[in-house]
């Protein structure tokens, strides 16, 4: 029987700094940061929605900046500080933006929520949103199919007022 196989380039050792821990992985170069987090580190809080940079479900913070982990190669994120939804709560206490999502009832199914939360924190870090319209524009990379937008904007507004970053 003839086998149609190709030789895959070898996997390599990649070190990611995720939520304060240094994690060593043996992965192929085409592994996205999203797949490395979910499939290899089993941090499944970061969600895969579109896998094409269109929905924001995969948003994580890299050196404090929000990015789409689906459109980034894990191998290119070495030596950077990666924060996922799992890394936000400290000592059993929710991050204020996490708590605000509960207080404002800013989700229904919750699928977009980890990305929304990371995105709000990124928005505060960027410090560019001054008006409600700015919030809507600068949060437009996070789609919510349940349509919880009104309350998400409230969370963002409150977070900007508090200006707290962690």
């Amino acid at each position: 029987m003839e086998k149609n196989t190709v030789e895959l380039p070898p996997t390599s050792s990649v070190t990611l700094r995720v939520n304060g821990l240094s994690r060593q992985l043996n992965i192929a170069p085409w592994t996205t940061l999203l797949d490395a987090l979910r499939e290899h580190l089993h941090l499944s809080g970061t969600k895969k929605g579109c896998d094409h940079g269109q929905c924001g479900a995969c948003t994580v913070l890299v050196d404090g900046k929000r990015i789409n982990s689906c459109l980034s190669l894990a191998v290119m994120q070495q030596d950077k500080k990666i924060t996922t939804i799992e890394g936000l709560a400290k000592e059993g206490e929710l991050h204020p933006v996490q708590q605000a999502f509960i207080d404002h009832d800013a989700f229904q199914c919750g699928y977009c929520t980890p990305g929304q939360i990371c995105s709000v924190i990124g928005l505060v870090n960027e410090g560019k949103a001054k008006t409600m319209d700015d919030i809507r524009d600068l949060m437009s990379g996070n789609v919510c199919r349940c349509g919880a937008y009104v309350n998400i904007v409230k969370v963002a507004q409150e977070a900007l007022e508090r200006g707290e970053i962690r």
Partner: protein, 331 residues
């Protein structure tokens, strides 16, 4: 994604060397366009060269009184840079009208110039497309073409270039510095992207082995009268149907100089200096703006679904010039 090998280039020379010696090699910067296209098998590089570790990550004043923007500066860092905001607000506004915060945080200025068309058929590997597969035919000309070009098209391709940043760079007369195995050269922005002609698979005049190192902006930035007007299906996070980068230099109510570049209408940012010249020395009136708009769209051709873009582009030019005159920067 298809398997590929990966390497990190330490500097420009190493990157150029790598790309010239590896069959099917491509540079990767932010990866937001390349990885997207690799996931759907439209682009199939065998080897990726990570250029995010090379220098060219700063924005500095150049020796001609303008600015030099490193090719690896991110779109957000460019748009929010103090010098760019103050001296070239048109560029800031155009960049911020594109994509999302997450994307702009990693997307680089070099990569932005080289992003590929958003023509649906280019993305759909089940359909013929001359840009994706030379000689296979163009599905868009007789297909769904609402988003596609009305100027500079050919019978082989009617794709548009989707960048917002490039439209502002065209209005500002930017130039692109590149380094290849034969050395360095500078390409004026208007010569950077190509018209499709009978080789629509070639988007730009950049050679395979050339790396973009920086973008130069001339001293004149039109910070007083400018607008980036982007018309699209929703107010945020959508590509332009038609966009206009407009800038005016005024002497009272007389126009000393006008710059107009259009996006979403052609395979490249569309400038027509001989039409801009109509406004020189003229009064800044709606009638004169309409005259320029007519001249800009001379020879425009619709393909059915996108016929509406011809009148839309004319009105967008008039509105953009009026906004620039009254200085309401909007997008």
């Amino acid at each position: 994604m298809r398997p590929f090998t990966y390497t990190k280039a330490a500097d420009v020379n190493a990157a150029v060397q790598e790309v010239s010696t590896h069959e099917g090699a491509k540079f990767i910067a932010g990866g937001t366009n390349l990885l997207d296209l690799m996931k759907i098998d439209v682009m199939r590089p065998a080897h990726l060269i990570d250029v995010t570790h090379i220098a060219h990550k700063t924005i500095e004043e150049n020796d001609k009184g303008g600015l030099r923007i490193g090719a690896l500066v991110t779109n957000n860092d460019t748009a929010y840079n103090e010098l760019v905001e103050k001296r070239y607000p048109l560029l800031s506004h155009a960049i911020l009208a594109g994509a999302t915060a997450q994307l702009r945080n990693v997307a680089t200025d070099g990569g932005n110039l080289l992003q590929r068309t958003r023509c649906y058929y280019f993305y759909d590997t089940a359909t013929p497309c001359n840009k994706r597969e030379p000689g296979s035919g163009c599905s868009a000309i007789k297909g769904y073409n609402r988003d596609l070009a009305i100027l500079g098209t050919s019978e082989h391709c009617i794709a548009t270039h989707p960048s917002d940043m490039a439209v502002a760079l065209a209005a500002l007369d930017a130039s692109i510095h590149v380094t290849g195995k034969d050395g360095e050269r500078t390409i004026p922005i208007l010569d950077f992207h190509r018209l499709p002609g009978d080789t629509p698979h070639i988007d730009t005049n950049l050679k395979e082995d050339e790396l973009i190192t920086s973008i130069d902006l001339p001293a004149k930035g039109f910070p007083e009268h400018y607008t980036y007007l982007k018309l699209r299906d929703r107010a945020s996070y959508a590509f332009a149907l038609v966009s206009v980068a407009a800038a005016l230099e005024l002497d009272g109510t007389t126009i000393k100089e006008a710059r107009i570049a259009l996006g979403g209408v052609a395979h490249k940012p569309w400038r027509k200096p001989e039409a801009e010249a109509i406004l020189q020395g003229k009064a800044a009136t709606t009638e004169n703006f309409r005259e320029v708009a007519e001249a800009y769209l001379e020879g425009a051709k619709g393909y059915g679904d996108n016929d509406f873009k011809i009148e839309l582009a004319k009105r967008a030019i008039v509105r953009a010039l009026e906004q620039a005159l009254k200085m309401e920067a909007a997008s």
